[in-house]
């Protein structure tokens, strides 16, 4: 059993996929509005297996994990208030919270900089965070048939999770890559549940909130690991490629696959940049 729990593939894929699948099936039956939390729960399980849940000392990695769990919960709780749901603030709340979380995660590095160097150090990551989060807000807010809206957000999240995991594995940190793959695996499970039944009750904002870990991980990887900043530019385009007016089938599964393929276009240069930065790989 311990061998299974220590297996990186189980930690990053098997455990989050199965746990998200089971929880999403239960939530769909009893609390459809909370289904997006199943991805957060899958990520939390993976984080517990990969890095443990000890919060002391509060390292940057632990801040990423903590933010990735607390922020979606916060967004969900605030969504219960009808006045909040109607306000523009609620749509943009995840972006604001995420940007604040990114600053908090980068703080150990930023506080050592002086003057303009702080802005130089923080700008690429904060821009990436705002642009990508805004992209997910736009995807979740689109006036589109429920199936297409679900597929848009799910395709973007799945592609971003896989892409962040791949670039981190190639050029940054295996730990970050496992956490990013865990989000992708959880998203995959959510897609399976979504395809099995009605999507009428799924919550776009909860799914968007589930994107928070991968946004934070890629940003942090440029500061704490050696991921080139240009990779962020490529990854930030993923939501845009999902909504481009490109040919796509009308049936749900083929539509989702085509959306994933389109959203993978900006990932190719990201992978190339990461590969070039990494140099030869050896064990």
């Amino acid at each position: 059993m311990q061998t299974l729990l220590d297996n990186p593939a189980f930690q990053a894929a098997g455990a989050p996929f199965v746990s998200t699948l089971l929880l999403a099936l239960v939530l769909r039956r009893f609390w459809p509005a909370g289904m997006g939390l199943a991805i957060t729960a899958g990520f939390l399980l993976a984080a517990a297996l990969i890095a443990g849940l000890n919060l002391q000392p509060l390292t940057s990695t632990r801040k990423i994990i903590l933010s990735s769990v607390v922020l979606p919960l916060l967004v969900l709780v605030m969504g219960f208030f009808p006045r909040m749901r109607g306000a523009d603030l609620w749509r943009w709340l995840p972006t604001v919270l995420l940007t604040a979380a990114a600053m908090w995660i980068l703080w150990p590095v930023l506080q050592r900089q002086e003057g303009g160097a702080v802005i130089l150090a923080a700008t690429p990551v904060l821009l990436y965070t705002v642009v990508l989060s805004a992209g997910f807000v736009a995807l979740a807010s689109r006036q589109a048939p429920v199936d297409q809206a679900f597929n848009s957000v799910a395709a973007a999240l799945l592609t971003l999770g896989l892409a962040s995991g791949a670039v981190s594995l190639i050029a940054a940190s295996a730990l970050y890559s496992q956490l990013a793959f865990a989000v992708a695996a959880s998203c995959g499970a959510m897609i399976v549940v979504g395809m099995l039944g009605s999507k009428g009750h799924w919550d776009a904002c909860a799914l968007h909130a589930a994107s928070m870990p991968v946004i934070l991980l890629a940003g942090a990887a440029t500061v704490y690991a050696q991921l080139p900043e240009l990779v962020l530019l490529c990854l930030a385009l993923v939501p845009l490629f999902v909504v481009l007016p490109l040919p796509r089938p009308s049936r749900p599964w083929p539509q989702l696959i085509v959306m994933c393929l389109w959203s993978a276009v900006p990932v190719l240069p990201a992978l190339w940049l990461a590969w070039r930065a990494a140099g030869p790989v050896s064990f």
Binding site: N54, T59, S60, T61, P108, S173, L175, A220, Y224
Partner: protein
């Protein structure tokens, strides 16, 4: 005559009780470590940049060791692995740029000593004990400065400091060997 000798000795007494303080020579002080690699062989590495201070007072049986190690100076002979060691998977050198050792107690044993202290890696502090076989002091033949040096060993578990990546494939137990030289201030 006897009075003058007596007063001279009185004047010198405080000086014989003072601890001598030393500044670590970064060009001759290197923390080295070994760790099992997949059970196949033992990987050797070292940190190339250190700084710090020592004090020694054998007469009173006291002393102190204060060493700061630059994490980014880790060197295992392969840049890709060194980059990986600096990443969040291991030392997270950007967030935690220094490893520190501050002694809490020095116990002299013949020519050697046991130095107990707190080692801080990646924000986690744990007590460790350095075993010093022999403290060697003398006048440096070139600089003519008073120099003291020693080799110290210790053993620790990296998981105690939150460095758990690739366990158990890459070993948990790490053998430390510090080669230290310091010149008198």
């Amino acid at each position: 005559m006897k009075k003058s000798i007596f007063f001279s000795v009185l004047l010198l007494l405080p000086l014989t009780g003072m601890a001598a303080s030393y500044t670590i020579d970064p060009q001759h002080t290197y923390p080295n470590f070994t760790i099992s690699h997949l059970g196949f062989s033992t990987l050797h590495g070292r940190f190339g940049k250190t700084r710090g201070t020592l004090t020694m007072d054998r007469a009173k049986g006291t002393g102190s060791v204060d060493i700061v190690i630059d994490v980014a100076s880790v060197d295992t002979g392969f840049k890709k692995r060194d980059d990986h060691l600096r990443s969040p998977d291991f030392f997270n050198a950007v967030e935690f740029p220094e490893i520190t050792f501050k002694s809490t107690k020095v116990t002299y044993r013949g020519k050697g000593a046991t130095v107990q202290g707190d080692l801080t890696i990646k924000g986690v502090t744990r007590p460790i004990s350095l075993d010093v076989k022999s403290i060697n002091c003398g006048v440096h033949p070139f600089s003519k400065k008073q120099v003291c040096g020693f080799d110290a060993t210790a053993r620790l578990k990296r998981s105690d400091f939150g460095i758990k990546y690739a366990l158990p494939a890459v070993g948990d137990e790490v053998n430390l060997e510090l080669e230290v030289e310091a010149s008198k201030n």
